[in-house]
């Protein structure tokens, strides 16, 4: 992510670090071209079991958590700069209106500015009660979904794709809010299928609900 490198270069001398984690169940090699191209000096980690999603109760990418110098969470998991403008794009030409493009850019810029302000002045760090109130709750169904997802990834990686697919599908059914699980359960052999017609149908079914909930900055 070139924009994260810019941010890191700008703020690294102020005690700031970026940790980018690739949720990449198909294996590290799928993340490699992007990581090689990024030539990043911050940490680029590869998470083939989606362990971070389990630990932090994440449902999509990109999501971010802000952690202070004492290792405390000061902002709960939230969308890291992406917006829902893509839902209005022309699917034939895959383009957005100039207004939507401008709004999307402004929202992304606003998010990056918020990170800058946090690093330099401490702004936007939430009080503990507010962080807690905005943490999504892990239910027993979500906990089971993560266990099935873990088993599914293992089975797929060990030549037992059909059995793995069943576990992934069940994981996605148990945790319908997780776009990551749904998209990994979909056939990912061919990149793009997980953003094919089925994906769009599922996005449309959200109605007024967001795909990328905007951070409450």
């Amino acid at each position: 992510m070139p924009v994260w490198q810019t941010l890191y270069d700008e703020l690294k001398d102020k005690g700031f670090m970026v940790v980018a984690v690739a949720e990449e169940s198909r294996g590290a090699e799928h993340a490699r071209p992007w990581i090689d191209q990024a030539k990043s000096s911050y940490w680029q980690l590869v998470d083939t079991d989606h362990r971070l999603s389990d630990l932090y109760n994440l449902v999509n990418v990109p999501q971010a958590i802000w952690i202070d110098e004492q290792g405390r969470i000061v902002r709960p998991p939230e969308t890291a700069g992406s917006t829902d403008h893509f839902r209005r794009m022309d699917l034939k030409t895959r383009t957005m209106s100039p207004e939507d493009q401008a709004e999307r850019l402004a929202a992304r810029q606003g998010y990056l500015d918020a990170i800058r302000a946090w690093v330099t002045t401490g702004a936007h760090a939430l009080p503990p009660a507010s962080v807690r109130a905005n943490l999504p709750k892990v239910t027993p169904e979500i906990a089971e979904a993560h266990a099935r997802f873990r088993l599914g990834v293992w089975l797929r990686a060990h030549g037992r794709a059909a059995e793995g697919d069943l576990q992934m599908t069940e994981a996605s059914r148990l945790h319908p809010d997780s776009w990551s699980m749904w998209r990994q359960a979909a056939d990912l052999d061919e990149v793009g299928k997980a953003s094919g017609p089925e994906f769009w149908k599922r996005v449309q079914a959200l109605g007024d609900r967001p795909y990328y909930p905007p951070p409450k900055l």
Partner: protein, 129 residues
């Protein structure tokens, strides 16, 4: 050997009839130690029903269910996943101390979040898909 997956590790264990295993293996897999009071970790002990204990053996399926964690087996029951209990995940997050983890970078070098104590950390996910 049977494969037992926990949230952060993969173990090869000798088991029978589900996940009956030696107390030493149970400790290696779960991080909990069998004592007269039950399965114990730090100051906490979870009592086990008599049906989950035999001479030199413990039923990890029964123990994990008692903890409230999910236990999932493959069709052939040769690979198992023990998931973190929902309550444990919620308590960790509500404590607000960022759950620690170790993950490899693209060259396989392990990196641990808590090494970054003293810095503000922007922890973000992405994916190629």
């Amino acid at each position: 050997m049977t494969v037992v997956l926990t949230p952060a590790a993969e173990h090869q264990v000798a088991v029978h009839d589900g996940l009956w295993m030696s107390p030493a293996d149970a400790e290696r897999v779960t991080g909990w130690t069998l004592k007269p009071e039950g399965m114990c970790r730090a100051d906490l002990c979870v009592p086990l029903p008599a049906s989950a204990l035999r001479v030199n053996e413990v039923d990890v399926v029964a123990f994990w269910a008692k903890l409230g964690g999910p236990v999932i087996a493959s069709e052939q029951r040769d690979v198992w996943a023990l998931g973190a209990p929902a309550g444990e995940r919620n308590a960790a997050l509500e404590g607000l101390q960022a759950p620690d983890f170790t993950l490899p970078d693209i060259d396989g070098v392990p990196r641990r979040l808590s090494e970054l104590r003293g810095k503000k950390v922007f922890l973000a996910t992405w994916a190629s898909w």
